[in-house]
């Protein structure tokens, strides 16, 4: 029983890690129906930025909590700038092109960013400092739940709730949904769609940055390629939960994480990915829109 609970917990943690990245994917897709393959790269870049600032701040002898706060804030600002710029450079000119074009553009961006970081930084793994302080109230269970894991669980939940509220109940959220439903009509009604899309990318990139800092502190090492693998899994999770749906992304991530964890625990870790993707295929056969995804009528 204890073994089961431990596996469940590690599944939840893995799921929350996926969710942090999947939230950004699903949000951008929900608004402009673009699979932003460069999202994983934003995640990777923000981890590098946090690392650079953390090293600088460490050299000035700041304590770990302040370092964590400042480094992650700066990483979020940088990621937002990246997200904004990338959209203007790579997606905006293709907004009226066939749907495949921005997708190819996204894949191209992803490759460019990876290689840029590889050349500017290094191709080998670099250690990421443990920025997350020990929480005193976790001491009694620290052998099953580390501070970083606790923080990932908590922040994923908070981010999910805030995002849902923003999209459902605020003015900008309403505008986002309007753009998602019918871009032309939204424009006719006086919504500045360029502004809305920029905001979407900025929020999505901020989410990636939060994920980047937390996950990198949890894993303890980063290199230029981490965005790719994490991105693929997070994308899978977003599709599983119903792409475009925010609670769906979290649910899909947790299902994916738990499936992998139990597959490793009770069968063999050799088949972890087999189980994960078998679940995805099965679900998509019976529910092509994902667990929480809404059936959309085809626009003609």
């Amino acid at each position: 029983m204890e073994y089961f609970l431990e596996l469940l917990l590690s599944g939840l943690i893995r799921g929350s890690i996926y969710a942090l990245i999947a939230l950004g994917y699903t949000m951008v897709y929900g608004i402009i129906e673009l699979i932003n393959f460069a999202h994983g790269e934003i995640y990777m870049i923000s981890a590098f930025i946090a690392l650079i600032f953390a090293s600088v701040l460490n050299a000035y002898g700041l304590n770990s909590l302040a370092t964590f706060a400042i480094a992650s804030s700066l990483a979020i600002v940088y990621a937002a700038a990246y997200g904004f710029t990338l959209e203007k450079l790579a997606y905006k000119p293709l907004r009226n092109a066939p749907r495949l074009s921005p997708l190819i553009s996204a894949i191209g961006l992803s490759i460019v960013l990876q290689n840029y970081v590889m050349l500017a930084q290094t191709s080998s793994f670099v250690p990421f400092p443990n920025l997350i302080p020990d929480f005193a109230f976790l001491n009694s269970i620290s052998h099953i739940l580390f501070p970083s894991e606790f923080l990932i669980l908590v922040i994923t939940t908070i981010v999910m709730i805030i995002l849902t509220i923003v999209i459902k109940y605020t003015k900008i959220g309403k505008a986002m949904r309007a753009v998602a439903q019918d871009r032309m009509m939204a424009m006719l009604l006086g919504i500045n769609i360029n502004y809305i899309i920029s905001v979407t990318f900025i929020i999505g990139s901020c989410l990636a940055a939060i994920g980047g800092v937390l996950i990198a502190s949890h894993i303890g090492q980063i290199n230029f390629f981490i965005g790719f693998i994490a991105g693929i899994k997070a994308f899978t999770a977003a599709v599983l939960g119903g792409i475009g749906n925010i609670p769906g992304a979290v649910l899909g991530s947790i299902i994916l994480g738990c499936t992998e964890s139990f597959a490793t625990g009770y069968v063999s870790s050799d088949y972890e990915d087999v189980f994960a993707f078998a679940i995805l295929v099965l679900l998509l056969i019976f529910r092509p829109e994902g667990i929480l995804g809404k059936k959309r009528d085809q626009k003609v």
Partner: protein, 368 residues
């Protein structure tokens, strides 16, 4: 083809000029000197030439001059057989061949003719371990040596009874893990309680670490590279798993210590012994540079060492007699670039090859 014919013609001329066995000591050096695998054979030829010239200059061996007879076989077993048939009647010793397949094909001939053969580069495990070739020695560790070292270290030194093997599913990692598993099963004093592959680059390994905790092994053997190992080691420390962690040369990298930081302390890793600081290594490299003007290629040091070993054995034995030289090879230790070496009864080198290291205070320290 043209090359082959040319070399055959050349060989004929050499054979015509062959020396009677008793006036000189002849060493055949068959190997891969042309074709796409030439880079594996040429450094050995250079090494033998350097040592032989040096010995001849200082009066020869047992008062006789040493003559070397190179023979190109391009790593092809059929050409190696031809080379062996040609060399057998005229040589006392063989240093070669380059590749395992060619070595195996040629060895039958040398075995029947009682010619001691030392290869600097044939790593196929069976060549020595099977015991089929009592005349065969080598100055390089065989393919299986690292796995064998890990397993004997775990069982004899760490007294392990339960061993978990984790690998990264790659060619290198899974290959090494499978060899280790076979050795544990053959040894019989310990059992493999877990044999599983993980996905490199995954965001989290807590599930597999949980599983390691459940089977509670004495030792975890890791087949793979250092990034994943660093993550697993960190998680094992956090979950208070006390099992020793043994990796191979894919883990023995300074980056591992940098990424795993204090979690790296106490981790074991096998790896090739570092010989770059040995006096003879430095000297051999200098001789090569002065004579041929090149940097050492693959198996240069092994070839150099093989030549030194055979010369030393002949000196110790006082003759070129098969049994006496063979005994000298297995009993006397000789100082060579790759280490102070001798050979075990099967023909594998002792004192070179792989060593076990442990991380202590942020450095890999050799475990004696």
């Amino acid at each position: 083809m043209k090359n082959t014919i040319l070399s055959l013609i050349l060989v004929c001329f050499v054979s015509v000029g062959a020396f009677a066995k008793s006036d000189v000591i002849t060493i055949g050096v068959p190997g891969s000197y042309s074709g796409d695998l030439a880079s594996y054979g040429i450094p050995t030829k250079q090494a033998v030439e350097l040592v032989v010239n040096k010995v001849n200059k200082s009066g020869g061996l047992l008062g006789k001059k040493i003559v070397m007879l190179p023979e190109d076989e391009m790593c092809k077993p059929e050409l190696a057989t031809n080379a062996a048939m040609k060399l057998t009647p005229m040589v006392n010793f063989i240093i070669g061949h380059t590749c395992s397949g060619a070595t195996k094909a040629a060895l039958e001939h040398y075995k029947d003719a009682h010619i001691i053969t030392i290869s600097p580069s044939a790593t196929n495990t069976d060549l020595t371990v099977s015991g089929d070739y009592p005349n065969f020695f080598r100055t390089i560790a065989h393919d299986d040596a690292q796995a064998m070292l890990q397993v004997t270290f775990a069982i004899n030194h760490l007294k392990a009874k339960k061993i978990a093997i984790i690998h990264d599913k790659g060619d290198y990692g899974k290959g090494a893990a499978t060899l280790a598993k076979n050795h544990i099963e053959k040894n019989g004093q310990a059992t493999v309680v877990l044999f599983e592959g993980i996905t490199p680059g995954a965001v989290d390994y807590s599930a597999i670490v949980q599983k390691i905790k459940k089977v509670n092994p004495d030792v975890v053997i890791w087949g793979g590279y250092h990034p994943e190992a660093a993550k697993i080691v960190a998680l094992m420390k956090k979950k208070k798993i006390m099992a020793a962690f043994i990796g191979a040369d894919g883990l023995k990298d300074e980056t591992f210590i940098k990424t795993a930081q204090k979690n790296a302390e106490g981790v074991y890793a096998s790896g090739p012994r570092d010989v770059s600081q040995r006096a003879l290594t430095i000297q051999a490299k200098k001789e090569l540079k002065d004579t041929f003007g090149v940097e050492p290629g693959a198996f240069f040091l092994e070839g150099y060492s093989a030549t030194l070993a055979i010369i030393n054995a002949v000196k110790k034995a006082g003759s070129t007699d098969y049994d006496k030289v063979k005994k000298a090879l297995t009993t006397t230790t000789v100082d060579t670039p790759i280490g102070d070496i001798r050979f075990n009864a099967k023909g594998d080198v002792i004192g070179a090859g792989f060593s076990m290291y442990q991380v202590k205070d942020g450095k890999f320290v050799e475990v004696k």
